[in-house]
């Protein structure tokens, strides 16, 4: 069924799909039923890693790279002269099964260029998922991309078969989106997103009453934003992300550093390297939103619309709010502990459990995995107090943190005062 020509197709359609960064395979716990093939684990499994350091969990592929749209940032835009091809749904289904049986992948992530119209495309994508679930008795993970502008009925069908659905916003403000992607607007993106979130809520409600009511996209929905293709600030981006998490109940917002794939288009900036550091800082900020109880306006605000590239967002938050520190490790509320730089979601539960047994000092914290290099300026514990942010003033702590060399003694602090010039980036 799978021939040599499909090797060439695979090359084209995998290459076309690689700019989609989503790779998660977590969030669904589904046992194998009727001795079919596959299950989905709640925590997700990475099966390989590419040389760019990204995880390979799903067979990330396009059904077709033909597209009627002409989005400036996309490699598959219709005005590009590139080889075009399509898979049939049976080809994709059997390739997924063969890869899955060999434990190469955790499941399928299917996307597509827009063929003829959104509904036509969506229908063919849903057909692949349905074939896998019904004919191949496949219980593994399926992630489907919902095509902007697809009808409510088709989106609802997709959610029946898939574990996760996603609609990519790509550009965080509508004006810029219209500028770069004249065929799209915010409505075409947010409408399917709303349909998905309503359906998810309904299905959850339904399952509360009937245990066997059908699942709808059980591991939720996600989206992607391109970073650095437009002049949108980190404040705009994080505000949007935070609204999506709270109002649309999104599982993930992915940030993708812009890679200039269409260098000839002068609506886009010329970048020599993708803005990877900014992307990294945005992910850190995203983690603060989702797991650390931060609000987006605590991380970026009108005075500081962009994230500091030199220091992580939690440190910059602490430096801007010195009045909240130092925190007493032995008594502080866990939520406050989470706000201390160098203490994370792994060490907080350890601290909280351990301090019931005895009072903790800095050597205990070090053993538990707290990064004392950062945390030392923001905490007090069961020992003589060392110089903290109140004694040192935020500017000096900032300089000390920028310097990655180990700071052992207070002499080092003294010395630093004489030459506080640090290279901005390392």
């Amino acid at each position: 069924m799978i021939s040599e020509s499909s090797l060439e197709k695979l090359k084209i359609l995998a290459g076309a799909a690689k700019y989609d960064v989503s790779c998660a395979s977590s969030g669904t716990k589904r046992n194998n039923t009727n001795a079919g093939i596959g299950n989905a684990t709640a925590w997700g499994i990475c099966h390989s890693f590419t040389e760019d350091g990204r995880c390979v969990s799903l067979l990330k592929i396009m059904l077709s790279n033909h597209c009627i749209y002409d989005c400036a940032y996309c490699i598959n835009r219709k005005s590009n002269d590139i080889p075009r091809t399509s898979f049939t749904s049976e080809e994709i289904a059997s390739l997924t099964i063969e890869f899955y049986r060999r434990n190469y992948i955790e499941g399928l992530f299917l996307s597509s260029g827009v063929l003829r119209n959104p509904d036509y495309t969506m229908e063919r994508m849903v057909a692949v998922a349905k074939t896998l679930r019904t004919e191949h008795r496949y219980n593994g993970y399926i992630h489907l991309k919902a095509i902007p502008g697809a009808s409510a009925q088709l989106v609802a069908d997709a959610g029946r078969w898939a574990d996760r659905l996603s609609v990519n916003i790509e550009i965080p403000t509508e004006n810029n989106l219209k500028l770069l992607a004249p065929d799209k607007d915010f409505k075409s993106v947010f409408e399917p997103m709303k349909i998905i979130s309503t359906n998810i809520l309904e299905s959850k409600e339904e399952r509360r009453n009937h245990r066997n009511a059908p699942l709808f996209s059980p591991s939720g929905q996600s989206t992607q934003l391109i970073i650095g293709a437009t002049d949108d600030s980190d404040q705009t981006i994080l505000k949007l992300a935070s609204a999506l998490y709270s109002r649309r109940d999104l599982k993930r917002v992915y940030y993708s550093g812009y890679i200039p794939v269409n260098k000839y288009d002068n609506r886009l900036p010329m970048l020599n390297t993708p803005p990877l550091l900014r992307e990294h800082r945005l992910y850190q900020a995203d983690w603060l939103l989702r797991f650390y109880g931060f609000r987006s306006d605590e991380i970026v605000n009108a005075q500081n619309p962009n994230l500091d590239l030199d220091l992580d967002p939690k440190v910059t938050y602490a430096l801007r709010n010195p009045q909240m520190f130092p925190v007493d490790i032995n008594t502080a509320d866990p939520l406050m502990l989470l706000r201390v730089p160098g203490i994370g979601t792994r060490s907080v539960p350890l601290i909280v459990m351990a301090r019931k047994h005895q009072r903790l000092n800095s050597s205990h914290l070090q053993k538990m995995g707290v990064v004392m290099k950062r945390a030392r300026y923001f905490i007090t514990c069961n020992e003589l107090r060392s110089q903290n942010i109140q004694d040192l003033k935020p500017e000096i702590v900032r300089q000390l943190l920028l310097d990655k060399k180990p700071i052992g003694t207070d002499d080092a602090v003294q010395l630093k005062l004489f030459y506080p010039m640090m290279p901005a980036l390392r």
Binding site: I37, G38, G53, V56
Partner: protein, 256 residues
């Protein structure tokens, strides 16, 4: 100095704990298996594994801490490192002797060390879940072989049993020379003496492979190479997530 030796099984270690409480003699050093070197001075206390005694210690651990902690002790044992048995005996003593449950007292070094080692064993098991690569044989069953850092196959088997319920498979640990075989009904432990496997890359001899196996390995390698974004190349992170010791077993990293 008290030197104990045991047969390097988990039941053996628990029996050792039982015996040391009974004799009121606790080990300063523990030797594993028969092949261990003789001690220069003094006699070695050799423990004969006894399942009933082991059972009692297991229940004792659960009643003094939690069931999860007992399983944690088992998983740490699977690390198979030379210092692990003594560390575990000290930990079990702490658990049994303390009036309160000390498993969450992360201020104690032994508790932190046990948890760190536990984390290492679990992440190795998680990696094996991801990095196992089955090869389809001409009989239609699937074969994978590996050399995990720790003895984690027993932890991985339930996952593969659930996931690949409709194909028969063998997962083999080349380093410890044993594996598990699923015949569509049961999983059983197997040892092969004449395995036709290239120990350099875990590949079965070509004569045993299904006709299209090499083709799918090629497809997978092609896919793997296509989805890498060259502009974002980051070898350090790549090696961090995918340690080099796995590369030789992965068709996408090897020469096909």
């Amino acid at each position: 100095m008290n030197v104990f030796s045991f047969d390097n099984t988990f039941e053996g270690l628990l029996t050792l704990v039982f015996e040391s409480y009974r004799q009121k003699q606790f080990p300063d050093e523990i030797l594993c298996g028969e092949g261990s070197q003789n001690v220069l001075f003094g006699a070695t206390n050799t423990i004969a594994t006894n399942v009933l005694k082991a059972e009692r210690v297991w229940k004792g651990i659960i009643s003094h801490s939690s069931e999860e902690n007992a399983h944690r002790i088992y998983r740490v044992f699977l690390s198979g490192l030379p210092d692990t048995p003594l560390l575990l005996v000290n930990y079990i003593r702490l658990i049994i002797d303390s009036p309160k449950n000390e498993e969450t007292n992360f201020a104690l070094l032994v508790v932190v060390e046990i948890n760190k080692l536990h984390q290492k064993v679990c992440s190795e098991a998680h990696r094996i879940n991801g990095f196992v690569r089955f090869q389809k044989t001409s009989e239609g069953s699937y074969f994978a072989s590996f050399a995990p850092l720790y003895d984690v196959l027993p932890l991985c088997i339930p996952h593969f049993h659930d996931r690949y319920a409709d194909q028969s498979w063998i997962i083999y640990d080349l380093k410890r020379n044993y594996g598990f075989w699923y015949d569509l009904k049961n999983v059983s432990r197997v040892v092969f003496d004449d395995l036709k496997v290239n120990s350099q890359n875990g590949q079965l001899h070509t004569s045993l492979l299904a006709e299209d196996e090499k083709h799918f390995q090629k497809m997978w390698k092609q896919y793997y190479q296509c989805i890498c974004i060259q502009e974002r190349r980051n070898d350090k992170v790549h090696r961090q997530h995918l340690p080099k010791r796995f590369w030789k077993y992965l068709p996408e990293k090897g020469v096909i």
